[in-house]
């Protein structure tokens, strides 16, 4: 039955979608955890010295690439990798 279910495109496609969702979602959590500390520190610095806004933004946006990695994996799963096509 299990073999039959895996061979069935429907379930496999469902699992792919779940995997894609997890890839983006978990990467998003990771990026958020990374950004929280930086964000707080940047707000502190900018309150003291507004001229640091640009550099603060730079630091704050660094971990954001993480979620793009997750998204790249999702896109490949959903659009590029089609084992049952």
């Amino acid at each position: 039955m299990v073999v039959g279910a895996i061979n069935d495109g429907g379930i496999l496609y469902g699992l792919l979608a779940v995997g894609a969702g997890l890839a983006t979602g978990l990467a998003g959590i990771g990026a958020g955890v990374g950004e929280q500390g930086i964000g707080a520190a940047v707000v502190g610095v900018v309150a003291e010295e507004p001229g640091f806004l640009g550099k603060g933004l730079f630091l704050m946006l660094l971990p954001e690439t993480l979620i793009i990695f997750g998204l790249a994996v999702s896109l490949i799963l959903m659009f590029a990798w089609t084992p049952f096509a």
Partner: protein, 677 residues
Amino acid sequence: MLRPVKMSRVVVAGSKDVLPPVIEKLHELRLLHIVNYNGSQPEFELGKPIGKAREYSEDLIKLRSVARYLDIKNKAPDVTYPDSQVISQLDTLLNSVGDDVTSTFERIVQIDADVKVKQDQINAMRPLAILPLDLDDYYGYESLSVFVGTVASAVDADVARVSPNSKVFSGSSKNATLTAVFAPAAQAGEVAAVLAEHGYSEISVPKLEGSVDSAIATLEGQIKSLEGEKGPAVKKLQDMKKQYEDMFLAADEYLSIQTQKAEAPLRFAETANAFVVDGWVPTTDLAKLKSEIESAAGGHIEVQVLDDNEAENLVEGGEDVPTKINNPAIVRPYELITRLFAIPEYKEFDPSLLIFVFFPIFFGMILGDIGYGLMTMLVLVGLKKKFRTPGWQQLINIVMIASVWAIIFGALFGEIFGPLGLWGKVIGQLPEHEIEALKAAGLYFGEGVYGPLGRLGPMGMLPMDRLATNAVLMLIGISIFIGVLHCSVGSILGIKTELNYGEKKHAYFERLPVLLFQVFFSLLLLGLILGNMVLVGAGGLVIVVSLVMMVMGPEGPMGLAHVPFYVSNLISYLRLLAIGLASVGLAFAANQLAFYVIMPMLSGGATESSEFTIPAIIVGILVLTVVHFINMLLGILSPFMHPLRLHYVEMFTKFYSAHGGGVEYSPFGHVRRYLKA
């Protein structure tokens, strides 16, 4: 454009007799970026202020305090005044107008304080109304101590126990029990202790006369008359503000200019009979500066230009060359993004032009919707009239130029408030057989049609529905390609910057390998996708070469630690596709919800658009508007932030600000805003 304006180092030396006209001329020209003399040479001392420096600064302080009372802030000028008018009115402004404003303002402050005192008295007295005593009963005794306040429980019995001769008045309101105890002064201590046990909390009774109710009525009458007086006073200040606002700003500017001129010698070097000014001037304006100063000083001055070697020595000794950014008017708004990060150093590139080229394209590629683009444009045209300060104007111009690109990409993507294909279905223009044929041929890029024009471009790719699989795959490729291009431009500028600083090793073994690595890494990926082994082999070979170069670079083997960063740089450009997908997805969902869920449901299961009932259409359009509005707000914010990141993180790290920020060129002088030039 890409480089800051070339500067020359000048030394101006002259007789002290011509100091005032020279300062006047320098201020008027606004060309010389003065290098402050730090007093390090024993032959020269620091200059002293000339003229009425002290008087001007005292006037300025007084003027600003009056302006603060009138709540005058910097704003775009409505009228400008000539200097002569300001000078003639300055005395009036500072004295009669100033005194009038000050006394009116102080009166308002006094009224507010009085009203507050009276209000506090009323609040304190109000509970006393339940006791059968007049206000003058509470004070004026020599042998009696008076306790007035709230208590938690009845105190009569306990007070009588410690002080039989005392008199207790009590009353209850709905919140608390009020007690007034009159005890002989000798037993005050015992009574206080007893009261404390009952949770006594004192009320301070104001020293007034008559019954509590009449006293409250009197105070309320007084408050009313005080407030009656305050109204006209506030109105008077508002009228005065309206009348004198521009004059005050002009006077402030006039006094600032005078103070600046009078205090200028503090930045000069001086001997007993001469002065010396060091500074930087744009090379193109050198001749003008020289001839103008010489004619102003009547020849008693020497303007000397240092040659490049001497200037270079000074820079190595720690002097900063000021950076004057110079861009055409259309690029100028994008200087805001550069400045937000850092001012370029004199030898660095000014990236504003590159931001002008790439930023709007990125914004447009992400937003990519004719409807959203037009709406953004309309809103900004309105905002532009409202927010007239330079900062806001720059920001608005940035987004305005970008939204033109959003409209262009909207046409390529076939989106007007969501994918055009859906609209085509709603208004019944969709040729089903054509879609089936395209799907069968594997060339299906979405359902969009341009009315009778049909599909355009190579293989009928346009309009490219971003939600279709083929379009997503194609846009992944395009995004990475743009990324390689963007990063390569950054790397090339990085190599040139390092060469400008004379750092050959950094240029060829730190910047160049990054360029090679990123370009050939993407070629290798392309080769893998196309199955072209020649491309894979060439890519792999050059990557190995670039890695070897990194190891030979200034950081040694540690240079390899950055390799993951260079790979993630390229992947990062996927956001150009990804953020756009999110926004087009939401727009698609909004349309789907309105046309395929809400409207059919509310019209009792009708599926054809001609069968929808009027209320169903109204509710549907309402939902459509709300969701599109939210999507548009998000859709302006993220297409702004993410390209910003792509510039700051992915591009600037390749060439910008590696040598620390620069100093902005700020020539001696003053921009006249409120005074006639």
